[in-house]
Symmetry: C2
Subunit: 363 residues, 2 copies
């Protein structure tokens, strides 16, 4: 079945997760629906494309923004998802058919895909081969991935965590590091990189289960459940009596405000996302930003698209840490495409424990 031919190809079912309506506020599973479709298992004649079978699909906070319709011509973000069409995000797949010289049937690849069982990739240059198939393939939706082709910040994990912390944060041994959403996809990698760099690292998360995970499995020096703290500033003061050198922010809002009160002179706030803000009609007003002047704090809005050139280096370095056991990966894996809407919605309620992904097929 390699390459397109005149023979009739097999036609198989192809379930999709499509957007039913644009979203305001918190997304719900009813904003999406599962649609039964079919697909012919080959690249249509005349197209240079790759047909992949999706194995793992990634659920990421950045998808929320694309679920909203932006009428404002000033919107500087990625294009909105289209009602009636499948959602789009990173995934890992296996090549079923290819008319592109770089790929052949059986290749394992990752890249931007759609939320369905099979996807015809019409821009095959966007696909990346998987260089370490000896590691769990799902890691290529997370710790080993790289959002090569998006113009919008994807909040993806591996390169984001590495570049945001190592390149922008520039940790020194002994630095005091705070990580929010610490058991999440980016946070868990940042925390472990901080330990590798010789830092003291404290994480915040939204459940006791996650806090326990940070302390027992992910090597954080300390962690706390922000939902059971009445005063996040006080919680940070107890854990950082001498202040914070680097804050890796994925949540924004009150946690950012509290962290600004504890930043040391010359401290760095690297903002990879503000998940607390994505579903708000009126964003939270950050009151303590004025402290950046007397304390010479820099606040970096991190967008991974500026760091693509680092991917090969980061993939090798992270694969090495994983094999040495210096970095462990905690995934929250849901089974089957039918579970994808709930998995995505759960991100915004903090239901996921670790990197959220959906397994569509194992081979």
């Amino acid at each position: 079945m390699e390459g397109s031919s005149d023979e009739k190809a097999e036609v198989v079912p192809n379930k999709k997760v499509v957007l039913r309506r644009h979203v305001t506020g918190f997304p719900t599973v009813e904003d999406m629906e599962i649609v039964a479709d079919t697909v012919e298992l080959r690249v249509p004649a005349g197209l240079t494309a790759v047909l992949i079978k999706n194995l793992y699909l990634s659920c990421d906070p950045w998808m929320r923004e694309r679920m909203t319709r932006h009428d404002d011509a000033d919107a500087l973000l990625a294009s909105d998802f289209v009602v009636g069409e499948a959602l789009i995000n990173f995934g890992v797949g296996k090549v079923i058919d290819s008319t592109h010289p770089k790929f052949k049937a059986g290749d394992l690849v990752w890249g931007m895909s759609t939320w369905e069982e099979y996807t015809l990739i019409t821009q095959p240059e966007s696909l990346m081969k998987i260089n370490h198939p000896e590691l769990p393939l799902s890691y290529y939706t997370g710790v080993l991935d790289d959002p090569m082709l998006v113009n919008y910040h994807p909040g993806m994990t591996g390169l984001t965590a590495y570049a945001a912390f190592m390149e922008v944060g520039r940790p020194k041994s002994g630095d005091f590091v705070f990580v929010s959403a610490a058991s999440g996809a980016v946070g868990q990698i940042v925390g472990q990189l901080a330990k590798i760099a010789g830092c003291y690292v404290v994480g915040s998360a939204g459940s006791d289960e996650k806090v326990n995970l940070l302390k027992t499995k992910l090597g954080f020096d300390d962690a706390f459940n922000y939902k059971s703290e009445t005063d996040i500033a006080a919680a940070l003061k107890r854990r950082f009596p001498d202040g914070i050198d680097i804050y890796l922010d994925s949540v924004g809002g009150e946690t950012l405000d509290a962290a600004l009160l504890r930043m040391r002179r010359g401290g760095k706030v690297v903002v990879c996302g503000m998940i607390s803000q994505y579903n708000l009609q009126e964003p939270y007003g950050v009151r303590n930003l004025y402290l950046i002047v007397p304390n010479a704090i820099n606040v970096y809005g991190f967008n991974v698209t500026g760091y693509f050139q680092m991917y090969a280096k980061v993939e090798e370095e992270m694969a090495g840490y994983i094999k040495e056991g210096k970095v462990v990966v905690v995934e929250d894996v849901k089974e089957g495409i039918e579970s994808a809407p709930a998995a995505l919605v759960g991100l915004f309620a903090g239901r996921n424990v670790g990197k959220q992904l959906v397994v569509i097929a194992r081979e």
Copy 2:
């Protein structure tokens, strides 16, 4: 009268501006008082010190913070002014007597001084000689000064403007630059440096007189009066249809929020001060900060203390620009120490047009 001797030295009147009470909210002239004192015109026996006659005293926004009493042990700012003692800030003076080998009577110096007619400088290492006495001496309270000795951000002009814009902002020819408080001490220098760097520069200020000054005397490409604009975001959109590359912020608050909406991808916000925030009990909440993530914007809290090593270079470069007429300096000069409290208070109402200073004596 050079050096300390056993002869009796002349005793002369020495009026001071002392803090009468700590301040909350907007400062008023009643928070200060003029106190008649006297001074012996020589360094007391046994001290290594320099007695200076103050010629020009600088009024700067950063003094506001020191007028408040900070009970919080966490306060990371400079020490508070003491009730009943003279205020402290940069000034230009002439040496009357010295027991320090680096200085002799008649030297022109600048540095941290006190708000009185004569000041005994007990840390003479803090004084700087004036290297360009051919320029107006008052420029050493502003465009040619350097806040060498403070631990707190002084918001001083010359080095702040240069380092914040040239070193942190790193302008490229053709960049779109926005400057708030643009006719003020820092803003007017930044705007002119932006033109030297080949940028398009727009300033905001709080009166039509200041706007006119920006456009006719200081070389800004455009300027607007933020007080007569009902929607600052719309005002910026009209003037920056393609967005802003560098925003030099001295005001914070709503102007910062509006500018965040117009920042281009990869833009830089360099915050030198937030004068709109200094008198508020509850700081303004910055709602558009979340945009730093998708647009990869960095927000730099600028504190000049990290740039001391550049002073000699900046003094020479700025002196050159002034002599060539590429940089002009607009000062708001009040006469006599009795006018100092009103001059300082006027800063926070935006009454000053240009760098605010007080002439205590001309020789």
